[in-house]
């Protein structure tokens, strides 16, 4: 059993990065991410982390610097949120399409205008098309574990895609919770040395990203899609290995609570999944056959894994902490699209968008929403699937 310490989500990520022993860290501060990079700078200053830190002038440069160093063979890391992530958006695509492993932490914060520092998932899900493997934590321990596993997943030759690890700003990022830090020698041996598909280090002349005709380019992007599919197995394998070595296994791309005999299932991602489980417990005590399914990896989207669990459910409520303006919650959209590949008959479904821009949603709110859905479904008054943006106010 490793050392157990009270760490905020941000510091947990920093300590995981320390154990991964990166060569280069380039970052720019932004609330609520800053304490990750501050802690890393402190560790470098104390001599506990040998990485070279590049203090760049913007997030766009941060990811560009990480990318350049990574192409030259360095294991790199950066962290950002919200506007910073949007500022580096061009490079988010650049890195994945170059098939270069990089790890980035996203401490979720909503997107401006107006100025708002509080959490929702909009900055994170906004990157879903870029080709990064994307995971989301529910507490400090998982933020630590996912960050460490991100290096292993991204540097796997059958994946070779960058990985972003998400956690909510303040709710997880600034909240101190018990974290067990594993032995660094075992971690070092498990992670091994960095692997990547090519290195530009001056030993031979190489051009990266030159003008490429349509057919070749399409081949490259097709291979990214295949790598994403491989990533599902790699993620499960890494989860198993980690469980054996360090005692914590999460169950792969999704995590199931009381789902086995559940007639109704609530799906969510992130910290509020805990509040959702409290609501599920209360409903179960009252005889409602309901379970909670938590999405840990958002890309590659685990449609088959989820379908396997929910296929016999009568009703599903999908909670989204983000909105695609003009359409629906992003998780709901991906989920229904995924389900449509497995069935012609969907169960009764509802998409609930809530908690946007940091509005606090607690277990009592989940309880009310789920109870209402189940009561209506059981009494046959739920005519069709529906979308609702519920503004929780106290």
């Amino acid at each position: 059993m490793g050392l157990r310490v009270a760490l905020t989500g941000n510091h947990a990520v920093a300590y995981a990065v320390k154990l991964a022993d990166p060569d280069v860290i380039a970052a720019y501060p932004i609330t609520p991410q800053t304490s990750i990079v501050e802690k890393l700078a402190e560790l470098i200053d104390k001599g506990e982390l040998r990485a070279r830190m590049i203090r760049v002038e913007s997030e766009h440069s941060a990811l560009a610097a990480c990318f350049g160093a990574a192409v030259a063979g360095a294991r790199t890391f950066t962290a950002t949120s919200s506007q910073g992530l949007l500022y580096m958006h061009e490079f988010v695509h650049w890195v994945s399409r170059a098939r270069i492993p990089v790890v980035m932490a996203i401490v979720s914060r909503t997107i401006n205008t107006p100025w708002n520092i509080w959490p929702d998932h909009s900055d994170f899900v906004d990157q879903r098309d870029a080709g990064w493997v994307m995971s989301y934590a529910m507490d400090s321990q998982e933020a630590f574990d996912l960050t460490l596993q991100a290096f292993k997943v991204s540097e796997d030759p059958s994946v070779y895609l960058p990985v972003m690890v998400g956690l909510e700003g303040f709710i997880i990022g600034h909240t101190a919770m018990p974290v067990e830090i594993p032995d660094e020698n075992i971690v070092k041996e498990w992670l091994g040395e960095r692997r990547q598909p090519y290195v530009i280090d001056g030993s031979e002349p190489l051009g990266l990203g030159g003008l490429t005709f349509p057919e070749d380019t399409e081949d490259m992007f097709y291979h990214i899609q295949e790598a994403m599919n491989n990533a599902k197995n790699v993620i499960k394998k890494v989860d198993e290995e980690y469980g054996k070595l360090f005692g914590r296994k999460y169950g792969g791309l999704v995590s199931c609570y009381n789902c086995i005999d559940a007639k109704y299932i609530a799906i969510s991602m992130g910290a509020w999944s805990g509040d959702l489980v409290e609501a599920v417990d209360k409903l179960r005590e009252e005889g409602y056959p309901v379970g909670a399914l938590r999405i840990r990896y958002y890309r590659p989207f685990p449609a088959e894994d989820i379908w396997e669990i929910v296929r016999n459910a009568k009703g599903i409520v999908v909670f989204d902490r983000a909105i695609s303006f003009g359409a629906w919650g992003q998780i709901y959209t991906d989920l229904v699209a995924g389900f449509s590949l497995y069935t012609n008959k969907l169960p009764q479904m509802a998409n609930i968008v809530a908690g946007i821009a940091g509005v606090n949603v607690i277990s009592e709110d989940f309880y009310g929403i789920l109870k209402s859905f189940i009561d209506k479904s059981e009494s046959g008054t739920l005519e069709r699937n529906y979308f609702a943006w519920i503004k929780v106010r106290r």
Binding site: R4, A6, F170, I171, H174, A176, M177, P178, D275
Partner: protein, 192 residues
């Protein structure tokens, strides 16, 4: 068991540090905890809350709250300003105040059911031990001693151990003295 605790003080008095040390102490007792600041901007001197949750099971809920099982007042000037009554103490809860007074104005405190009130003059203890930083007496750690004395939520020993872990042995030792004194001097005032 799940306890929700609020540390009410002024920015810079170390409420967040107190909540973090409390979580570390809980870890030593194989419990679970959450410690966090007010989610947002804070200013030195402005009234502000820090939060903690302690449980014997993994804690599922998140986020700020304004009803607590234990309310710790680091700065008693907040009472007459009406800040304290914005936070409610639950039935069977505990109110612990850093004050030299022996009574509290009942209308400045919000409670549900029966609440036990304790007090200790942590400010005087900090001053006497020379625990002063930038002109402010360090009352956060002694108030953790008071919390342990009043509620037995975590043991005095583990509060001290967590404080030494957090501050290191040199600075921690002074804090531990203050914690011990506050633990001994915390007095039950009344039930409200």
């Amino acid at each position: 068991m799940l306890y929700e605790i609020i540390f009410l003080g002024r920015g810079g008095q170390g409420g967040v540090t107190a909540s973090n040390i409390l979580v570390q102490a809980a870890i030593y007792e194989n419990k679970y905890g959450q410690g966090f600041p007010f989610f947002g901007a804070e200013r030195r001197g402005a009234p502000v809350a820090a939060y903690a949750r302690i449980s014997d099971k993994p804690i599922l809920r998140h986020g700020m709250f304004n009803e607590a099982d234990i309310l710790v007042i680091l700065d008693d000037s907040l009472i007459k300003l009406g800040i304290v009554k914005k936070y409610t103490v639950r039935d069977n809860g505990t109110l612990i105040i850093n004050t030299p007074e022996k009574t509290i104005p009942r209308d400045q405190v919000s409670t549900r059911g029966k609440v036990n009130v304790y007090a200790v003059n942590a400010t005087m203890i900090a001053r006497e031990l020379g625990l002063i930083v930038a002109g402010w007496p360090l009352v956060n750690t002694p108030m953790l001693g008071a919390l342990s004395a009043a509620t037995r939520l975590v043991s005095l020993e583990n509060i001290e151990k967590a404080t030494l872990y957090y501050f290191g042995s040199k600075l921690g030792a002074k804090n531990v003295e203050a914690i011990k004194r506050a633990y001994m001097e915390t007095m039950y005032l009344s039930e409200v």
